[in-house]
């Protein structure tokens, strides 16, 4: 059987600063919701999956792979925006005219029997899985589509190219050849919003929605513990509670009821959690009392009040990044090199200071407030530093490059911009190679996708845009250079860019002149 999974719905509440996150990738207990959906469908006998991707396709591909893990096949389709998902349905390519496909919005999971469509139902062309509003609330029972439907070949091909879920439902109701068949869904969980996620967790914990694969072992009724948990003997648990792997629960903590702690979390001493979901890699500080909330690293979402706040104080709440090579260790070679260069060029440096201070009587430095990278997306968590450069006598050119970027590859700019910024490198604010430094307002002005990649990168004096596109890149060139560097940076690549910069400086390589 074949399923068409739409993963393009976004949970905009998660990152209100532009980086929309696929709602199907939100965690449910111990794994992304999408994985529960796939496992459920595999158990029902589905072996071919067409997956539509829009936001974070790499994360979804990493999660699902090619399907070997479940003995099934995945085919991925990229769309520019969520409204184009149905266009992909039209281009699926069917093996025969009697082939049906199960349309699945992957941020919903319905517990229904999904056996192949019976020949008697073939003529209706679509079978819609619907829940119903309570009969006492509405006189006429109104159908509420779950987002799951069996569709015939003909029904797929005639679907409108650009439509949202509501328009698709309208189309499925009014498809011309016959009346639709409806199947009632009694149990459904969703991850379309934070409140849906809360409800879904409660449904799974209370076993109202059972049958999902869970990594943790149920050590006693309503208490699940995963591996590698450090649980202080004074911890009090009121079931149902689920604790994910690699968690550390401190002294005097009270957990439950209806509490889920995702993998790699730390709950510090004397904290009380009731009806609370802690998403993976979160830290919760000491002596906090949380109820009816969802903690997503440094975001605190109150479900009852439908509000979200970002906690900027690390000792209250924060993120626990996955283990990686410490950033300060990585910066040691560039900091050492900067110290050596500063010592070697100190006579020049002193001469510059004297000239500017005594002869021209100008302020020494032109300081720009640049944002340190990498940082989370929330502007509240950004830290700035003063990017040093000597006051230049050249007028500032009107250009697309950020104000903190090196103006050009020339000896004058090396003297006025490169050498003072060595102090920033020694302090660990900056690297030799990276994306150009930007101010807070410049970062906020970037398009969301570009901004997300920029914030994940590292800032440097020498940028790929400068080396490949010169001093005056267009917006497209700048975007291409910065996004490309953000995903392909490595020490080898940095050395290559460094060599090209100095090669261009001493005219060993021609300067870029590819303006169009």
């Amino acid at each position: 059987m074949r399923a068409f999974l739409i993963t393009t719905n976004e949970l905009s509440e998660r990152t209100p600063w532009g980086d929309a996150y696929p709602s199907a990738m939100m965690p449910l207990i111990d794994r992304p919701f999408l994985q529960h959906v796939v496992e459920y469908l595999v158990n029902q006998g589905f072996d071919r999956f067409d997956v539509v991707l829009c936001q974070h396709p790499e994360k979804i591909k990493n999660l699902l792979g090619d399907g070997d893990r479940w003995g099934v096949k995945f085919k991925y389709h990229l769309v520019k925006e969520p409204s184009k998902s149905i266009l992909t349905l039209k281009c699926l390519g069917f093996d025969n005219s009697n082939e049906w496909v199960l349309l699945v919005y992957a941020d919903r999971l319905c517990r229904v029997d999904l056996r192949p469509v019976k020949p008697a139902l073939m003529s209706c062309h679509r079978i819609l899985y619907c829940t119903k509003y309570p009969e006492n609330h509405h006189k006429d029972v109104k159908l509420n589509w779950s987002g799951w439907a069996w569709l015939s070949n003909q029904c797929c091909l005639a679907a409108p190219a650009n439509c949202d879920e509501y328009l698709l439902f309208e189309y499925l109701l009014s498809f011309k050849y016959s009346a639709p068949e409806f199947v009632n869904v009694s149990d459904m969980i969703r991850s379309c919003s934070y409140s849906d996620i809360m409800v879904a967790h409660k449904a799974v914990l209370s076993k109202q929605f059972n049958g999902l694969m869970l990594e943790g072992r149920e050590v006693e009724e309503g208490v699940w513990l995963s591996r590698n948990i450090s649980l202080h003997p004074t911890v009090q648990i009121r079931r149902p509670v689920y604790i994910g792997q690699n968690c550390r629960i401190g002294k005097g903590v009270r957990l439950g009821p209806n509490t889920v702690i995702g993998a790699n979390c730390v709950i510090d001493d004397k904290t009380i959690l009731r009806n609370t979901i802690i998403l993976p890699n979160s830290y919760v500080g000491t002596s906090l009392e949380l109820q009816d909330v969802l903690v997503d690293q440094y975001r605190l979402i109150n479900i009852r009040l439908e509000s979200a706040v970002t906690i900027t104080e690390n000792f209250i709440m924060g993120s626990l990044p996955e283990k990686q090579f410490p950033r300060w260790l990585k910066s040691i070679p560039s900091r050492l090199l900067a110290i050596i260069l500063l010592i070697l060029t100190s006579p020049l440096f002193v001469a510059m200071i004297l000239i500017l201070k005594i002869i021209y009587k100008r302020p020494l430095f032109d300081q720009k407030e640049a944002v340190r990278l990498p940082v989370p997306h929330d502007p509240g968590l950004w830290r700035v530093f003063a990017l040093l450069r000597f006051h230049s006598f050249k007028p500032t050119p009107n250009r697309a490059s950020p104000s903190g970027a090196l103006p050009d590859i020339s000896w004058q700019d090396l003297l006025f911009s490169f050498f003072p910024a060595l102090i920033n490198i020694v302090r660990g604010h900056l690297c030799f190679v990276g994306v150009a430094p930007r101010t807070v307002s410049e970062i906020k002005a970037l398009p969301p996708d570009w901004r997300v990649l920029y914030l994940q990168s590292k800032i440097g004096l020498i940028s790929e845009a400068l080396v490949y596109f010169g001093a005056n890149p267009s917006q497209d060139e700048l975007r291409a250079a910065e996004t490309f560097y953000a995903v392909s940076a490595s020490w080898k690549y940095d050395l290559k860019l460094l060599a090209k910069y100095f090669g261009q400086l001493v005219y060993l390589w021609p300067k870029p002149d590819m303006k169009t």
């Binding site: 991707l53 396709p57 990229l78 520019k80 590819m514």
Partner: protein, 111 residues
């Protein structure tokens, strides 16, 4: 750089006959396409033969798109190979330019 072009109704399909689109040939590619795009509104780049692309190549594709958008046209890519597709996903090119598996799908999406 060698390019081949095919007109399907009002859609221009340009096939890039190169394995690499980088700083060494991006400028040449842009200068060849700038003329072709002036006379078309709907364009598909068939990237079946391209196995490597760098920031210069990405920048050139974006400037082609911008040129077409400038007079109400659109650019779509088809036949993108796995390494290039992976890069496009990481740099989120698919959020700017539509990417299709086959030429037919790209042409069909214009109609």
């Amino acid at each position: 750089m060698e390019l081949s072009k095919e007109q399907i109704d009002d859609i221009l399909v340009i096939t890039l006959k190169t394995e690499i689109l980088d700083a060494s040939n991006a400028k040449e590619f842009r200068s060849q396409t700038v003329q072709l795009l002036e006379n078309s509104r709907k364009v598909v780049f068939d990237m079946t033969q391209v196995k490597f692309i760098d920031s210069s190549g990405c920048g050139t594709l974006l400037s082609c798109l911008r040129q077409l958008n400038g007079y109400g046209g659109d650019l779509k890519l088809s036949g993108v190979q796995k390494p290039v597709r992976t890069l496009f996903e990481l740099v989120r090119m698919h959020r700017i330019i539509e990417i299709y598996d086959k030429n037919d799908d790209a042409v069909c999406s214009f109609q």
